[in-house]
C-alpha cells in the first residue's frame, strides 16, 4: 500500500485531507501524529472524547489505562462506550471504539488503575510515550501521574470537570520548563476538604468539552515538535506564559484563560529541593493515599 517514496500511506492523504490542508499541520504535522505515542489515563468522561478525536486525527499509537468496567450510569457522558459493552473493561470498550473509527491506530491497554506500583513502568518502561493525557477522576492519581511525568520527562495535558465547570492545563511543557500539577496546586487537599471530592453531579457535554479540548492541545503539542513548517504564525513575541482554561457553563457559557505562576521553586518534584523521586514513588509514599480519600478511585466518576 505504501510506495517507498511516499512519507505517508497513500490512503492517509485522502483520509486526513481536511487536516493536511491546515498549514500548521500539513505533511510534517501528519507524520508527527502518525509517529506519536500518547498515553490516556482514565477512559471516562474526559478520556472518551479525547481518545476518539486523537484516533480520528491519526495518532499512531494510543495507550489506554483504566481499571474500571463500563456501567450504564457512565453512558450519559462516556460516549466511547455503549450499552452492549456494559461490564467490559473501559479500556477494552474504548479500544473497540477506536478500532471502529480508525483501524490504523495501534492500541495498547492496561486493565488496572494507575498506582504507585505501576506508574513508572507504564509511563516509561513499557512504551516510549510522547505525551500523556490526565483524564482521571481522582486527585491522588492526578498528583501521582504529574509527579511521575516530571520524573520521566513527559508533558501532561490535564483536564477535569464537575457539575457545569471545567479546568484545563498543559503541564511540564516544554518538558523541564513548564509548571507541574503541584506547581499549580501546591497543597494536596485532604479528604472532604474540597468541593468536588466525593459525589457531585456532572453534565455529560461539560466533561465532554474538556476532553475534546485535551485532544486539541495534545495535537498542538505533538505537531509543534515536528520539523518547522513553512507558515509560521506572526504573534507578539512575549515571555512564555502558562495558562489554565476555565469553563463555567451555567447560567451562561463562559470560558476564561488565567495566568499561572509557572514553575515553583518550592515544588517537591520540580523545584530546588526535590523530596519526591522515583524511589519515594516506588516505595509507595502514603501521601497519595491521604489526598481526597486515597488511591484508587472506585467511584468511576
Amino acid at each position: 500500500e505504501t510506495k517507498p517514496t511516499l512519507p505517508l500511506p497513500l490512503a492517509d492523504y485522502t483520509r486526513y485531507s481536511r487536516q493536511l490542508l491546515l498549514p500548521q499541520i500539513g505533511l510534517p504535522g501528519q507524520i508527527a501524529l502518525r509517529n506519536a505515542k500518547v498515553l490516556i489515563v482514565g477512559l471516562g468522561g474526559l478520556g472518551s472524547p479525547a481518545t476518539l478525536y486523537l484516533a480520528g486525527a491519526g495518532v499512531g499509537t494510543l495507550g489506554l489505562i483504566d481499571g474500571d468496567t463500563v456501567e450504564e450510569s457512565n453512558l450519559h457522558r462516556q460516549i466511547a462506550h455503549s450499552e452492549d459493552r456494559v461490564g467490559q473493561y473501559k479500556v477494552d470498550s474504548a479500544a473497540a471504539a477506536v478500532a471502529g473509527l480508525n483501524s490504523g491506530v495501534k492500541v495498547r491497554v492496561w486493565r488496572e488503575h494507575l498506582n504507585t506500583g505501576n506508574v513508572l513502568r507504564v509511563l516509561e518502561k513499557e512504551e516510549e510515550w510522547d505525551l500523556v493525557l490526565d483524564c482521571t477522576d481522582h486527585p491522588s492519581v492526578r498528583y501521582l501521574l504529574s509527579d511521575a511525568a516530571v520524573l520521566t520527562g513527559k508533558t501532561v495535558v490535564s483536564a477535569s470537570a464537575l457539575r457545569w465547570d471545567g479546568q484545563l492545563t498543559v503541564l511540564n511543557d516544554p518538558v523541564g520548563e513548564g509548571p507541574c500539577y503541584r506547581c499549580v496546586w501546591p497543597n494536596v487537599p485532604e479528604k472532604g476538604s474540597v468541593v468536588g471530592c466525593g459525589e457531585g453531579g456532572i453534565l455529560g457535554p461539560v466533561v465532554g468539552v474538556m476532553g475534546v479540548l485535551q485532544a486539541i492541545e495534545a495535537i498542538k503539542v505533538l505537531v509543534s515538535r515536528a520539523p518547522k513548517k513553512e507558515v509560521e504564525e506572526k504573534t507578539e513575541s512575549t515571555k512564555r506564559e502558562y495558562r489554565m482554561t476555565l469553563l463555567s457553563s451555567y447560567p451562561t457559557l463562559q470560558f476564561r484563560s488565567v495566568r499561572l505562576l509557572g514553575k515553583r521553586k518550592t515544588c517537591p518534584v520540580c523545584g530546588e529541593n526535590k523530596t519526591i523521586t522515583r524511589e519515594t514513588i516506588e516505595t509507595g509514599s502514603d501521601e497519595y493515599i491521604q489526598a481526597c480519600g486515597g488511591l484508587p478511585s472506585e467511584e468511576g466518576l
Partner: protein, 103 residues
Amino acid sequence: MSKPVTVTLEFSGGLETVFNNIKSRKVTIPAPEDGKTLDMGYVVKYLADNLLKGNRDMFVLADKIRPGILVLINDADWELEGEEEYEPKDGDSLLFVSTLHGG
C-alpha cells in the same frame, strides 16, 4: 488609612455553592475598622465573615485561603501580584477557583 474598594468578585469550580450561588458580583469592601491596610489577606477574611453562607472550611482554614483554591487577581495567579499583601484597586476582578477532580 485605607479607603473602601469596589471589586468584581467571582467564584468557580463549586466555590459559588458556599457563597449563596454567586458566580459574579460587584462588591464594595469597606476599609478595615482597625485602620489596617485593605489587602487581600483582609479581603479573604472579610468575605468569609460577611458573604460566606455555607461551610466556612470550604473557603478558609484559620482565616487563610484553604489548600485547593486558586486566587486570581485580574486573571493572574495572586502569587504574581504579592498574594495576601496585594492591595486591590477599584475595578479589580477577584476570582476564587476551587480545584476540580472529576473526569
